[in-house]
Amino acid sequence: MQQEVVLAMLAKEPSQGYQLRARLNDALGPLGEALNAGQIYVVLGRLEKAGLIGLDGDATTRDHERKVYVLTAMGQERVSEWLAEVSWPKPDLAEFHLKLIAAAQAGLADPISIVDAQRRELLRRLRDAQRAEMEEPDGSDAALLLEGIVLRLQADLRWLEACEGTWTTRRRKQ
């Protein structure tokens, strides 16, 4: 889990670990399964060590039975920086592209069957994401995330269609 995500979730108000986890679960819905229960506490430990968060002295019990975390000034600044950052995951298509080329050049496998197998896998993922989206109640935050996943899978499937078209034409020319 990216540290900045946990840090930013804390910006709303001083909170305990379980409250942060609940906020993440609300935002992620069924995809929150990807969060490992202990993970958030590991991240909180790291953030504390880095001086980005501290314990809220008033709300935290003396025996640390209840720990309420709060952003430090440095943490506040880090959150602002993170919000302003323009980063975006890059689509990783080169590996699959090279797989098709290598398979065709070496005559080891039929690129079109590789595309077919990949398409099946993506269609299954699309089905799962879409089912999950359909089950979300109106106005759910998680539905919006699921829609993004569905749209990306759709784009990948269209690219696979283009791969199939090109490799089919090449095979015919041979």
Partner: protein, 258 residues
């Protein structure tokens, strides 16, 4: 409603038996040099209660195939069977009867009558099939309720959103309790949210035992099917079964680790 319950029961007990079947089905246009094989020896089986999606690039013949399956067009050759009856040689009149009673159609552009209300649009095929006005109305109201439009019955199509119009069109397709519903690009005119509305409805109908064949190039629609047939140059070239097998884990859809 009794009829529908019986049909449903029949559909449930016969899951797996082919309801719709083609053998070497062909449709050609032109001749000699300019011969176009729009549908080229297609062998296809659709089981009762199954949802089949037919995908392929535009011009691959998928819409022509759907028109043949629904008796909207006559094949050049091959066999077509519906519910154990051969239907490729029916007369125009026989085909009209078939289309009215046994097959429901859903089109990309809805094809609703603009001057009729939603309810009247749904009623119309029932009246044409000889149902009493009272029964037709009851059936239409029940179907509008089923597609989530109980409160829109008196609206004209122009007062409905695209997704709502398509749901009215689906209700109309169901009014005569067809054996199979054939849909041609049912989400082609719809945005993402309206597409989801229609997919939810298909999912619901699938669960109640409806047999559905959908021609589409929308991957989202295809992903809700039990099986996807890919078509290219008039022929079926690949088949993907989506039900059964591994049910994916949602956590694999995103990565939160770093």
């Amino acid at each position: 409603m009794k009829e529908e319950a019986m049909r449903k029961e029949e559909a449930m007990t016969n899951v797996g038996a082919a309801l719709l079947r083609t053998e070497g089905l062909r449709k050609e246009y032109g001749r000699d040099e300019s011969l176009v094989r729009a549908v080229d020896h297609v062998d296809l089986e659709v089981a009762r209660g199954e949802t089949l999606a037919i995908m392929g690039p535009s011009g691959c013949g998928k819409s022509t195939l759907l028109h043949l399956l629904g008796g909207l067009d006559q094949p050049s050759g091959g066999e077509l069977w519906l519910n154990g009856r051969r239907i490729d040689h029916l007369s125009e009149r026989g085909l009209a009867n078939l289309r009215r009673r046994e097959i429901g159609f859903v089109f990309q552009a809805y094809h609703l009558m603009d001057e009729l209300t939603a309810r009247e649009n749904v009623e119309l095929p029932a009246l044409l099939a000889g149902r009493s006005p009272r029964r037709a109305r009851q059936r239409a109201l029940a179907l509008l309720d089923q597609v989530g439009l109980a409160d829109r019955g008196n609206h004209l199509p122009s007062a409905l959103s695209g997704g709502q119009r398509q749901r009215v069109a689906i209700a109309r397709a169901l009014v005569n309790e067809p054996l199979v519903v054939l849909a041609d690009e049912p989400t082609g005119n719809l945005d993402s949210a309206a597409t989801l509305e229609v997919l939810r409805l298909f999912d619901h109908l699938h669960a109640s035992g409806l047999t559905l064949v959908i021609v589409t190039h929308d991957e989202r629609v295809a992903a809700t099917a039990d099986r996807i047939a890919s078509m290219r140059d008039g022929a079926l070239v690949d088949e993907t079964r989506l039900t059964g097998g591994t049910q994916g884990n949602l956590r694999d859809l995103i990565s939160l680790e770093r």
